[in-house]
Amino acid sequence: MSVVAGKELRIVGFLCNWCSYGGADTAGVSRFKQPTDLRIIKVPCSGRVDPLFVVRALLTGADGVLVSGCHPRDCHYTDGNFYARRRLEMLKRLLPFVGIDERRFHYTWVSASEGQKWQQVVTDFTNRIHQLGPLHVKKENEG
């Protein structure tokens, strides 16, 4: 059942604990409405996100993956997000080689106070994935 067929697609989000997870909380506390497709996995820092997680998710059933961390220079761990940026930028270039549209992967920076920005990020990315359509057509027909 996973996602509600026809209404939702499968989007996985990796959020750093200090900024973006807090930003998503702030959006919630402020009741900023968002599409429901996103499933959030909390990580301590966006630098913890192994590009392989992203590839694994996209290859096994996700239609889109979003990574969000602290703003550059505002990282709780000094520069964990710089490592994230470097790795994820590389990943973006590699995705087409495994047959995945790079637009299905997005990384961004949202701080704990930016509830409104979070709402925007989720809405825009979800819309983008819906425009691109499902990545795993076969599987969905089976399910």
Binding site: V4, K33, R73
Partner: protein, 653 residues
């Protein structure tokens, strides 16, 4: 493995848009889940009791609580299961409130999303390992950054509580903004009269070590063990010899140095003591203006100084201090006139800021307390105050209220009438915000007793006409344009974050908002804590605040530090990186990427090189884990297995 799942209704907060009973029912179908229930308020005492009983009755060994954000109650539930005999890391939370019930409108979609969120938590908790904290010693010294009223209060409270305090102030004197104010609302107390003694207390306290005219260069370490580098900026005066006699200042031939203390209302000498009550009362050379520096010759002060304290060769000096906690009290900044081209952008000398007017009102200010306008040093008979100059102005990037301007404008209107009985004040305002004790009565007094004319509307333009400044605004209550021919115009300019606030936050690893104000841990319940343990906030660095609120926060931050230091040992967070030496190939990529230099090379007895984590230094970011090519270094509680279990729970169902 016996997982128990507890779904919270949170009253209607969750149950209103998520079918909690269905979530629980679905969870019972999951392999490994032996118990699932839903409850009105899981965080309440009976709610926690139910978890404990279920652990005992059902023999549960892993717990998932689906409720609010873990940032809210993870600690609560960790303690709960610990009391029932489980390791605290056998808990996972699914955030079905902030991330689901509050943001989605469709109950069907929300319920499905909640089911998945709990599934992910179940998948993760089944991969959790017990983790145990170790303890480490605390350095019971505290660093206070900023010597304004909030920082001073924090320093004094900590010192009175028996702690050694290091107080760092970037200006030549402590006292901050409050030392510049003339009187304080709503009592019209003399500001320096109530602050001065406190300043003396600070400098005389044997537990407080004061670094004035100094800045924080570097902060390293973690709660309990910080290493600080402080830059003592060159004053070109040996403060151990300077007696503050002021002879140098009197004889200095440079009379046009910018007067930072007076916000440029007057000029000062190139060597100066900022104000009579300055603490420390020591002279300092401003090399931007000093002829010895700009022209290479002068030396008057060196000749005149009776103690030979002048040293033109002085350099910045770096000193190290070790502390266990930090209180940040760096205060605020103010919009400058250049932000207001429609008000002349500083071209008109008789359009000034509120803080400049404080200096003009002040007895120790450049006009000795006589209100004289800057252009021609005459007494203004008509004074116009413009509130919200930049505040609540989205177009200038300040959508927020500056908090205390309404009050100080009322105070300045009252003082103007006191100084010049035949004067008339006009106040342009949008709303009067006077919500403190005795505050509203005070703004009424300004109007009722002191005859200040309050005009509801904004000012669109200020321009000179002869010797007058014409202030053109609106009276929205009358629905007309109004004009006042003023002698002096005072703008209540917006409160902004202190210059350099963002850079300081980056050194401290604390968060700041879009405006540069520091973010507290919880807006209601943890107002002086930050998300970095051991770092606390006080005063206007967190947002515009008046004196009582700043003082209150200074004391609050001090009490937090005192309670932190009430133990000799602190417990470390065990969620740090761990090396599996059997898998480590010794490439040491992790050593290079670790932002904290927490990994070092270790040579095993068989001569093999491997990575080793220094437990007390590791902060738990996990950059090493995603760097390691063979999965040998794993951040505990966020291992590859744990995170992939979550990915699989979403993608492969």
């Amino acid at each position: 493995m016996r997982v128990g799942v507890f779904i919270c209704h949170c009253g209607n907060n969750i149950a209103g848009t998520v079918d909690v009973a269905r979530v629980a029912a679905e969870m019972r179908k999951l392999p490994g889940v032996v118990y699932a229930t839903n409850y009105m308020y899981t965080c309440s005492e009976p709610g926690q009791e139910e978890i404990k009983q279920a652990i005992r009755k059902e023999g549960l060994d892993r717990i998932v609580v689906a409720a609010c954000s873990p940032r809210m109650h993870e600690n609560t539930f960790r303690k709960t299961i610990e009391k029932a005999g489980l390791n605290r890391y056998f808990l996972e939370m699914a955030n079905i409130r902030e991330h689901i019930s509050w943001i989605g409108e469709d109950k069907e979609l929300n319920t499905n999303k909640a089911i998945e969120a709990v599934k992910m938590a179940v998948a993760k908790v089944m991969n959790n390992k017990p983790l145990y904290s170790s303890s480490f010693k605390v350095n019971k010294r505290v660093l206070v950054i900023g010597g304004g009223v909030a920082g001073m209060q924090a320093a004094l409270d900590c010192a009175d509580g028996g702690l050694d305090v290091v107080l760092v102030e970037k200006s030549p004197s402590i006292g901050g903004m409050m030392s510049r104010l003339d009187k304080t609302f709503p009592t019209i107390d003399c500001s320096i009269c109530i602050l001065g003694p406190k300043m003396v207390d600070v400098v005389q306290h044997e537990k407080i070590k004061l670094y004035a005219y100094s800045e924080i260069d570097e902060i390293k370490g973690y709660v309990g063990n910080y290493q600080i580098k402080i830059r003592k900026k060159a004053t070109y005066v040996d403060w151990s010899k300077c007696t503050g006699c002021g002879a140098c200042m009197e004889k200095c031939p440079t009379r046009n140095a910018y007067d930072h203390f007076n916000f440029g209302v007057a000029t000062t000498r190139a060597i100066n003591i900022p104000f009579p009550q300055a603490i420390p009362k020591k002279a300092k050379i401003d090399p931007e203006f000093c002829r010895q520096f700009t022209k290479g010759k002068c030396g008057v002060c060196a000749k005149i100084c009776p103690t030979g304290a002048i040293n033109y060769e002085m350099k910045d000096e770096i000193v190290a201090e070790d502390v266990g906690a930090i209180i940040v009290a760096t205060g605020y900044g103010l919009f400058d006139l250049d932000k207001f081209p429609e008000y002349g952008a500083g071209r008109y000398p008789d359009v000034i800021t509120g803080i400049q007017y404080e200096r003009i009102l002040n007895a120790s200010g450049p006009t000795s307390g006589h209100i004289l306008r800057p252009s021609d040093q005459t007494e203004p008979k008509t004074v116009v105050f413009v509130s919200c100059a930049g505040s609540r102005d989205k177009s200038l990037g300040v959508p927020y209220c500056s908090n205390f301007c309404c009050m100080y404008i009322a105070k300045q209107a009252i003082l103007t009438k006191d100084h010049i009985p035949d004067s008339q004040s006009y106040v342009f305002y949008m709303d009067i915000r006077s919500n403190g004790k005795g505050y509203d009565e005070f703004t009424r007094r300004a109007q009722e007793e002191y005859g200040a004319k309050y005009i509801r509307g904004r000012v669109a333009k200020i321009y000179p006409k002869g010797k007058k400044m014409v202030v053109r605004g609106a009276d929205t209550l009358l629905g007309t344009q109004v004009e006042v021919e003023a002698d002096l115009v005072v703008l209540a300019t917006a409160v902004i974050s202190a210059p350099g606030a963002a850079g300081m936050a980056e050194k401290l690893h604390i968060s700041y908002d879009t405006f540069g104000f520091y973010v507290e841990s919880h807006p209601k319940l943890r107002p002086v804590e930050t998300n970095t343990s051991g770092v606390y906030l006080a005063g206007a660095c967190q947002g515009p605040k008046d004196i009582p609120a700043s003082v209150g926060q200074g004391s609050a931050a001090a009490s937090k530090v005192l309670s932190l230091f009430s133990k000799d040992m602190l417990e470390s967070d065990p969620a740090i990186a761990q090396v599996n030496i059997n898998a480590c190939v010794g490439c040491l990529k992790c050593v290079k990427t670790c932002p904290f230099q927490a990994i070092k090379e270790e040579v095993l007895r068989n001569g093999r090189k491997v990575a080793k984590v220094i437990e007390t230094v590791c902060a738990g970011c996990g950059v090493c884990t995603s760097t390691c090519p063979c999965g040998a270094i794993q951040l505990q509680h966020f291992t590859d297995n744990q995170l992939l279990a979550e990915v699989n729970a979403i993608c492969q169902s």
